[in-house]
Symmetry: C2
Subunit: 221 residues, 2 copies
Amino acid sequence: MLGAVLQARDGDLRVLLWQRAQQPHLHRWALPGGRLAATEDVETSIRRQLAEKVDVHKLSHVEQISVFSAPDRFPGRRVVATAFLGLVPSDIDPEVPADTRWHPVADLPDTAFDHGEIALTARDRLRAKLSYTNIGFALAPAEFTVSELRRIYSAALGYQVSATNLQRVLSRRGVLETTGRTVSAGPSGGRPPALFRFTNRDLEVTDPFAVLRPPSRGGQD
Amino acid sequence: MLGAVLQARDGDLRVLLWQRAQQPHLHRWALPGGRLAATEDVETSIRRQLAEKVDVHKLSHVEQISVFSAPDRFPGRRVVATAFLGLVPSDIDPEVPADTRWHPVADLPDTAFDHGEIALTARDRLRAKLSYTNIGFALAPAEFTVSELRRIYSAALGYQVSATNLQRVLSRRGVLETTGRTVSAGPSGGRPPALFRFTNRDLEVTDPFAVLRPPSRGGQD
DNA sequence: CCAAAAGTGTTGTGGCTACACCCATGG
DNA sequence: CCATGGGTGTAGCCACAACACTTTTGG
């Protein structure tokens, strides 16, 4: 039961890690997690673990990544871990314990066990879903300017995206809508930006990317 | 540990199910599977289970679907299942036990526990991957005509795909290649079809569907 | 020579990137 | 009035679906 909690922070995509104080893997950085209790399903459990151990209460999105089960992944005894991707909006700053840090996923420290690999898998899953779902809602505040959103997408994807096309793609898909309000311009002037929000804060697939799609007229399934 | 083994058979996408002979869920249809042994990882284990129990030795592709963990999914005690998608090429016909059948996924019988839901999840995963990967190799024989491939894709997707465009999309992506050989025409005449094969029999993503893709010139990550 | 099936040529379209251009503000 | 950042208009591209057309066989 491990959670790769990701957030767009300071221009990078970061993952929450804590530094181990005992053997094995003393001083290495690990993903937070814990054991499944008898009356929970796995998603409930990982949410509880993250709230209790690292004060992350407001995961805007949680999904399963995979089960990691190589017999030698944990020294001594057999440990099978179910790994999760969790996302935190960029305007939230949980009060994490002293041994815990947000590390850039692109520049991980020495990680315990296979936790580095898990973090990278979580990042890749997020990146893929940014393209074909509305999952950006889980990284962004409730309302934001297109510039802010651009910074978030750039951090998560690892390259600069154009604000112009970001707005256009998400609007065309009906993912983004304007609030009608604007916020005042920055200290160096410029036109005051409009505030936007995501129309839907549940995950939905917005680009079914079905090549070989069903015939346009005629029977479905 | 459960395997949803799918195959394109007789024009349908089918899943291998066996009929339970005891309580609970007497006479309902269940996915094959078993328990994880101490020295295996989960993929090795599901391959072993399927070979031992239903004589499926030649899974051309195996991947994890998800962990199913609702506390009440199994009556009595808590059972957490890791579910897999397994694929069998259409020219193989395993000698399955007497209590086992290939059921169309679109028309499932009464299933045990949540196994029906798992089979549908597996089908949806396969359908998505047919669009953006070369996963067709796992459903097709080593060599085949475009017509045969069309039948396989149509069965898996649940709607008719055009042979013309199927060949074109897969060729453009470099997924398909001709063997140079042809096979003789059918009883009703017609031009003898060419034999094709997949260029690669390992899973690869052929359409990265990255909207918001990185700038064409300039810095990557 | 005709029906049937395989395979190619070609047109139109939608969604995207790139970039030029216009808009609204602070100093 | 000009620098700065926000936002729109538009051209071009590319992968695809659709369908007309050509090719090659059996009878």
